[in-house]
Symmetry: C2
Subunit: 308 residues, 2 copies
């Protein structure tokens, strides 16, 4: 089977910044409440941008780095907030880039969607179904957040992130471990046309226990330890959840990538936006190992360990 | 890489039958108009059933044949009419069957969704990501059809179909060819919360030309001809489209599986419902070759040639 490499990354955040001050006033919360509870300082809300337009912008950010995207033969988009089911967001990206070949589709796998899409694209590259794949995570949560529901209104936000993957012949580590648990899947629900429903305390509990178990199983599967990895890039759900995961696994906090402070929780977009920040800071170093960790509604939990 | 086998099939059609007579009266059409234009005689509309419940029923039809589904480790659902984005329909199937492991997600790939999901599940089985997969196609189109739009109201209907796939070690032919073409993708659109928009004449034109080209490329890729296949199971969009495809490729009409007469066009569910009918009639014969052919919004066109 072929190996895979992350060639480039891109992301898009809407211009409209929503500070904690704005939300604390509208929700009648004490100043400092949101930062203390979630770690978030500010987040972005789309204004006129559709979800498709945000996804396209994240891919154009790759193109603007001078990368040739004309040979892409797979586009997979993960989201939880689809606005048009047909043509899909992936089809609209193909159109925006005028790509003349390939297979395009969108998937729904809760907040773990990007990890699912990344692993799926990898299986297409490994089996020769594709040679170059774009994997995009995008969500426009401001549209489905109940502005009076503190639990969701203070954390959820909008954004898009994209990763360009390529098949190769190098010897590289790649392991994925994605598991769905149906028990308690009523604690995080997004019914189309209604507000997102989240039972925060329950989500915290299962997010921590399921991800810790998932990572232990991933490391056991790979026959390696977290000491061999340079970074763990978790879904940016809440700073406390990420800190609890790090503590339980005894991973040093500086290995846990966090950008929730300025981005908020963008569901499917959170991992690729974080990857793009890392890429821009020179933190994605060839031959080093990283772990992507997704979790959320479904309940779906997924992790990928790969050599860069 | 592993081979794959279709182990079992199941399907679900709602009990409420909508005859041509009912639609011809409400749309003020001459008696016989619908049959003559589409080949459809009757179709089913869901009443109380959600899309998730229809999908579950199609899988329970497999279980009721005495098949053990407790070892399933991948559930993929294709649809164009999602009602809940999180947890997904696949997660709800896992819950209904109390399956304790595996990876569950839904995908959106237009009417070609089942072919995309089947090929994706195959890539998971080939690479060892899963050993037994359920692939489901489901749509509840009666909910998104404009009752005054003749072009869609006389063809679209509701249903679900499921296929159980298993990885194996046998030498078996498997080739897939799935292609998205962005040009003209405005001719078939499903915006969530609005009625489906379809430009019938344009869809007819592209459905025929794109599928004929896709099948020619598939056969060329496999190094075989349509004479070696026992059946071609096309997406059941319209009898005239299927007849035109058969004529252009000079495939004998009795090899083209058709059940649109009694099922209508169920988008993602049409191929697995047809496969289930074939299975029940003893037409899925080991070692014979069949072709699945999907096409629709995106524009996505896909075909799979496999040995049973």
């Amino acid at each position: 089977m072929k190996s895979i490499s992350i060639i480039e990354t891109g992301s898009y955040l809407p211009q409209q910044k929503i500070t904690n001050e704005i939300l604390e006033k509208s929700l009648n919360l004490a100043p400092g409440y949101i930062k203390q509870r979630t770690g978030i300082e500010t987040r972005c809300y789309a204004t006129e941008e559709t979800i498709g337009e945000m996804a396209i912008q994240s891919v154009l950010a790759i193109k603007h780095k001078g990368i040739d995207l004309s040979n892409i033969d797979l586009i997979v988009v993960a989201t939880t907030t689809p606005e048009v089911s047909m043509p899909g967001i992936a089809n609209e990206i193909q159109k925006a880039l005028a790509i003349k070949q390939g297979n395009c589709f969108d998937l729904l796998a809760g907040c773990n969607g990007f990890v699912t899409a990344f692993d799926l694209a990898t299986s297409y590259l490994q089996t020769g179904r594709a040679k170059q794949a774009l994997v995009i995570g995008v969500d426009r949560l401001s549209k489905v957040v109940d502005p009076e529901d503190i639990g969701t209104a203070i954390v959820l936000s909008d954004g898009a992130g994209a990763v360009l993957l390529q098949a190769g012949e190098e010897e590289k580590t790649y392991h994925s471990h994605i598991v769905s648990h149906y028990a308690h899947n009523e604690i995080l629900v997004s019914e189309i046309g209604n507000y997102i429903q989240m039972e925060g305390k329950q989500v915290y509990k299962y997010a921590v226990t399921k991800t810790v178990r998932n990572l232990e199983e991933l490391f056991s599967k790979c026959g390696c330890t977290h000491e061999e990895i340079s970074y763990l890039i978790p879904h940016q759900s809440n700073q406390k959840i990420m800190q609890a995961i790090a503590k339980r696994l005894a991973i040093s906090p500086e290995k846990i990538v966090q950008n929730i402070q300025t981005v908020g929780n963008t569901f499917c977009a959170s991992i690729p936006i974080a990857l793009d920040e890392m890429k821009q800071k020179g933190k994605l170093i060839p031959n080093e190992k990283i772990v992507l960790l997704g979790y959320g509604g479904g309940l779906n939990t997924g992790s990928i360990l790969l050599t860069l």
